[in-house]
């Protein structure tokens, strides 16, 4: 992994628009009505940068993540990876780029194939391009970096705890020494102590390997631990972005203010329920 051309963004997304068929209103004849998931989203991340993508359900954050990795093709807009446009590229063109853009998934159970051993899972991204002996070593190195002993390579996912499985997900993402990692709600299902372990591990890996990291989360506090910048999504649009320090200390958009005001910090705050929140143009359905 080389660090050159620091002036160019690693990933740049311009005016990304994603509309998907509305499954609830599927029709037998004619086109199914589409529902807009992302409306005109601009996003950029440079080498070694850490950005949090924050939003609640329905904000489009998961979809944005999948667009960034080109698992999904946007309906409109442009997407660039390291200067190369990949908006409409087919999977064959994308294949050589794949080792450089990796993902860690939310659900550690469904992101690990139950029939493969941990070794096979972690080795999958580099299997095609690596000789067998070297493969074992690289898998062992990746496991070690994720703080799992080499003996884990022979076990199966169902034999591991949630935290261990998530570490396997991390090992798989770093085994090919990528430039960019998308972490999609990676600590949502974990208890607070395991969450802290995974977050600290990922932070030190990101620093050591100079990874660009985009973290999708619904929890602002988690974003604070890993990211320098944050982007707030609401109903398919970016309503606010900036450094974490800026956004958390002085949020500008009403939705960001509402989001921050809704976070229960572990301290006594008698006025927490009565603090006025601006509900004007944000009408949540709940």
């Amino acid at each position: 992994m080389t660090r050159i051309e620091s002036g160019r963004d690693l990933i740049r997304a311009e005016a990304i628009h994603v509309a998907l068929p509305d499954r609830g209103r599927r029709r037998l004849f004619g086109r199914t009505p589409q529902v807009d998931i992302l409306r005109g989203v601009d996003f950029r991340i440079g080498r070694g940068e850490t950005v949090g993508i924050v939003g609640e359900s329905g904000s489009g954050k998961t979809t944005l993540g999948r667009v960034l990795l080109r698992l999904l093709q946007p309906s409109a807009g442009r997407l660039y990876f390291d200067g190369q446009e990949i908006t409409a590229a087919d999977q064959e063109t994308l294949r050589p780029l794949r080792p450089r853009m990796q993902m860690i998934f939310q659900n550690p159970l469904s992101s690990l194939n139950p029939r493969h051993t941990i070794g096979e899972i972690v080795g999958a991204p580099i299997r095609a391009a690596t000789a067998r002996a070297a493969l074992r070593d690289r898998v062992a190195t990746a496991l070690r970096r994720a703080e799992l002993g080499p003996a884990y390579a022979g076990r199966y996912p169902h034999q591991l705890s949630g935290g261990e499985r998530q570490r396997v997900g991390i090992a798989r993402a770093i085994v090919g020494e990528p430039s960019f990692i998308l972490a999609d709600e990676i600590v949502s299902g974990l208890d607070v102590s395991t969450q802290a372990q995974i977050l600290t591990l990922l932070r030190s890996l990101q620093r050591d390997m100079g990874l660009a990291l985009a973290l999708i989360a619904h929890d602002l506090s988690v974003v604070r631990v890993l990211c320098d910048r944050v982007v707030v999504l609401w109903q398919g649009r970016i309503v606010e972005q900036g450094t974490c320090a800026q956004v958390f200390a002085a949020p500008r958009h009403a939705y960001t203010r509402r989001l921050i005001a809704a976070i229960p910090l572990p301290e006594i705050d008698d006025g927490w329920f009565d603090r006025p929140e601006i509900d004007a143009d944000i009408d949540a359905e709940a």
Partner: protein, 292 residues
Amino acid sequence: MVESPGATPRRAALLLRRCVGNYRILGGGSVLLLLVLVALFARQIAPQDPLDQDLIAQLQPPTLAAEGDTAHYLGADSLGRDVLSRLIFGTRVALVVAVIAGPLTALVGTGLGLAAGYLGGWVDVVISRAVDIWSSFPPILLSIMLVALLGTGLTSVLIAIVVIDWTRFCRVVRAEALKQRHMDYVDAALVSGLRPRTILAREILPNILPLCIVLLTMEMGIAIVIEAILSFVGLSISTDMPTWGSMIAEGRQVIYQAPWIMTSALAALLVSILALNMLGDGLKAEFDPVLR
């Protein structure tokens, strides 16, 4: 550093050891093995030639019944042929059909099901509509029509079975493939840069395999039944080679005088199908690591 306690021995060896310990596999498997041996060594085992007619011994009851003797352990049919020998030789037809038609149906059905479930789009639409239309035909009627068209004989029977029953596999495999396609580990494989056919083979297929194995054993049982039905109506293989179905047909006509003919053939059918189902059940339990 988290250390994993103890290593895992070779997967294949472990699987084999466990298979032998599972009573379903053991039970079903041994009965099937027995049937295979009977079929292979029919000529040696059968006390008499199945085609040998002995008009003196017409409808002679089995040895253990009142008027039986040791010449015919399970009695004789209306042409004096030894029931036991016919039963033994009937195993051949049943097993040939099971072993050829079963996997063939599985192949066709699984292939189409995987294509429909994984590729989606118009492929899925075409295959799904085909399945729907096909399965709305009454299967027995369809099989009779087919054999009438193709003429009698083993090949026709095999084709008929595949043509009728592939939808069973297709439906189930398609549903499972659809479910698998949406799993995160398929996305993970995409992100890892694997090709679609690699993803299909490495990620999806292994998860579908246990299902296919159970269905296969069930399919083999169904193949035996379909063949029995076809030979019951006289549309199966045209030689004099005895089949359980034709024995049932013959036995039906003399059911009051000689119930043992039909009963023994039915019993043979039942035992084979039960054994196959048990085996399939046991295999499914063993192949599914999550279930353990």
